[in-house]
């Protein structure tokens, strides 16, 4: 605390933010423009080219069916990133709303949120995932539904914490004295303070969700072929990892890359809003 040099910290925060923006921007752009960038169709088979190591024509090599890995990795980015972002929307909104309500009105809600969190932690996660997967059939729906059921808890906890500390603050008190309704206080006084914190948490949470999406794909209960996904690509490549490392290593590195980008965004935003 005492030794911190604020000027340097702020500069580093900005730089981290820019790195994060650049990394995620480049990835999003590449995914968006995949049809224009890729020279090969991700499904196009060239059996005579099977398991070609990375070379100028195929920078990421080819797989067992001679499909271009560069195209497949980019098309998988489209699936995985879209699922990641879409699956976060409802839990984020619901969690922030419930958390603010719990923190603002206090009382028993605090205890209930804590109990719900404990129960979720003690619940075998893969049981829920597997049950939903059996109910909806493997695919994106399962991920959306599972994450809708459990994802909101994180945001509820954050929003509740921030709101609880604001509830007794002078400006909330004075807003109430001026006759503002509870809803108006939450919308104009609480929400602007909760949002930055929740967004910082969103960045970490998205990285975790992406790992979950990829893991489910790997286990065969997530995104299913023919939709390309980094997890299923790793699962298909693992049996030839000895002779064709690129099939396993490159999709994994894409997940790591996304994780680093999101982490930089989160840290940068946290520094900026501190």
């Amino acid at each position: 605390m005492k030794r911190q040099k604020p000027a340097r910290g702020a500069g580093r925060g900005k730089r981290t933010l820019y790195i994060g923006l650049a990394m995620m921007g480049a990835l999003a752009l590449a995914a968006l423009l995949a049809p224009a960038i890729c020279r090969y169709d991700p499904m196009e088979q060239h059996l005579e080219l099977f398991l070609t190591p990375p070379c100028p024509a195929h920078p990421f090599g080819t797989d067992q069916l001679g499909r271009d890995m560069f195209s497949r990795v980019l098309y998988a980015a489209r699936t995985d990133l879209i699922v990641m972002v879409l699956a976060e929307i409802v839990p984020f909104a619901v969690g922030v709303f419930l958390g603010m309500a719990a923190g603002y009105f206090g009382g028993r809600t605090e205890w209930i949120v804590a109990l719900a969190t404990d129960t979720f932690i003690a619940f075998p996660y893969y049981l829920l995932v597997a049950v939903v997967a059996f109910l909806t059939g493997a695919g994106m729906h399962g991920i959306f539904i599972t994450f809708m059921l459990v994802g909101w808890l994180t945001y509820a906890r954050v929003a509740r914490g921030v709101t609880g500390s604001l509830r007794r603050s002078e400006w909330v008190e004075s807003a109430r004295l001026m006759g503002y309704s509870h809803l108006r206080i939450i919308a104009t006084q609480i929400f602007p303070n909760v949002l930055p914190q929740a967004v910082v948490v969103l960045m970490t949470d998205m990285a975790g969700l992406l790992v979950l999406i990829v893991t489910l794909g790997y286990l065969g209960i997530g995104i299913t072929p023919p939709a390309p996904d980094w997890g299923t690509m790793i699962a298909e490549g693992q049996y030839v990892i000895d002779s064709a490392w690129w099939l396993t290593v490159i999709p994994g590195l894409m997940v790591v890359y996304t994780g680093i980008g999101l982490s930089c965004l989160g840290d940068g935003l946290a520094d900026l809003w501190r």
């Binding site: 109990l115 075998p124 893991t215 286990l219 982490s263």
Partner: protein, 323 residues
């Protein structure tokens, strides 16, 4: 002074204990109820799963009757509760025809040993690394430690596992590449690489949180006083600073350990380990309701115990958390 304070501390402890036990009981009850009804939502009839699609209608009916599946779900639930609470019996596995409790207990040692190995490796490395970083603040090592979580947070366990197997088992031959079954003589040895893989992902965030707390405590006035009093550095660091800094890290770790118990399936899949995760997954695929309930119940009990113990430890080493 002592006389007036001790009973109050005791009362406070009892209050905490009652609340903690109540919460633990509620959590286990909620998990049990949720699992019981959730697994029955899955389409597919256990009797058909065991006897096959082409079994005679009459034999399927007979098995359904024997398993109590013809009763309405609420009555099935009451029967289940009765058996669990009165006789500690979670029922017979539909698929294997033996007690589901015995099956869980047979596969549990593998998962528990994995959890124990992960705990030892993770906590020891986290303490060591964060001390090195905090005592050499802003040095090269400290800066490396600070960016590490960004790299590991996007690493799926199964992916690092595949790479580690390739490197340490296939290329270097330090560890066996084969799987682990319960009761294997080489169980401990075979579980080291899986444990290292899991720890690899868990250590960086723990180091990050512990390092931050250590730096705060190292700046505290009482540390300056201890230094001025010429207390040996080793004792300051491990007895006084660590004790003041470790509580949030322990809480974080206990949550991670709980997720590991519930999510051990991935590690087991990659390393060919026959543990509780795989048992649960197969039980779901077979619609083996009693076995699913048994695994979930035992996992929940175990996780609740972990969280209870970590709360207790944190209260002991850091009295500030007792309020």
């Amino acid at each position: 002074m002592r006389n007036t304070r001790a009973p109050q501390g005791k009362r406070q402890f009892r209050r905490w204990l009652c609340q903690a036990l109540l919460r633990a009981a509620l959590v286990i009850a909620l998990v049990t109820v949720a699992v019981f009804f959730l697994i029955r939502l899955v389409p597919g009839d256990p009797a058909v799963m065991v006897l096959g699609e082409h079994a005679a209608e009459s034999s399927i009916e007979a098995l359904r009757g024997r398993l109590g599946l013809n009763l309405p779900p609420s009555q099935q639930f009451l029967r289940f509760l009765q058996n669990v609470f009165l006789r500690g019996d979670t029922g017979e596995s539909i698929k294997y025809g033996v007690s589901s409790r015995d099956l869980v207990l047979r596969f549990a040692p593998v998962t528990l040993l994995l959890a124990a190995l992960v705990s030892v490796i993770t906590l020891a490395s986290a303490v060591l690394l964060s001390f090195l970083a905090a005592t050499h603040r802003d040095g090269l090592f400290d800066q490396a430690i600070r960016v590490l979580p960004a790299f590991t947070q996007g690493m799926p366990v199964f992916w690092t596992g595949l790479l580690f197997i390739q490197l340490f088992a296939v290329k270097l031959r330090w560890f066996p590449a084969g799987g682990v079954k319960p009761g294997d003589p080489g169980m401990l040895y075979g579980l080291i690489l899986p444990a290292v893989t899991v720890s690899f992902g868990q250590i960086p965030p723990l180091v990050r949180s512990l390092r931050e707390r250590l730096l705060e405590v190292l700046d505290a006035d009482f540390v300056t006083t201890l230094r001025a009093a010429k207390v040996p550095r080793r004792i300051i660091l491990f007895r006084h600073v660590l004790r003041n800094a470790v509580a949030p890290t322990l809480m974080l770790f206990s949550v991670n350990l709980s997720y590991l118990i519930g999510g051990t399936l991935v590690v087991e899949q990659v390393f060919g380990v026959r543990g509780v995760g795989k048992l649960l997954f197969e039980a779901i695929s077979n619609r083996d309701f009693p076995l699913v309930q048994a695994v979930a119940l035992y996992c929940a009990v175990f996780i609740v115990i972990i969280s209870f113990l970590s709360d207790l430890i944190v209260r002991r080493i850091d009295p500030r958390t007792r309020a």
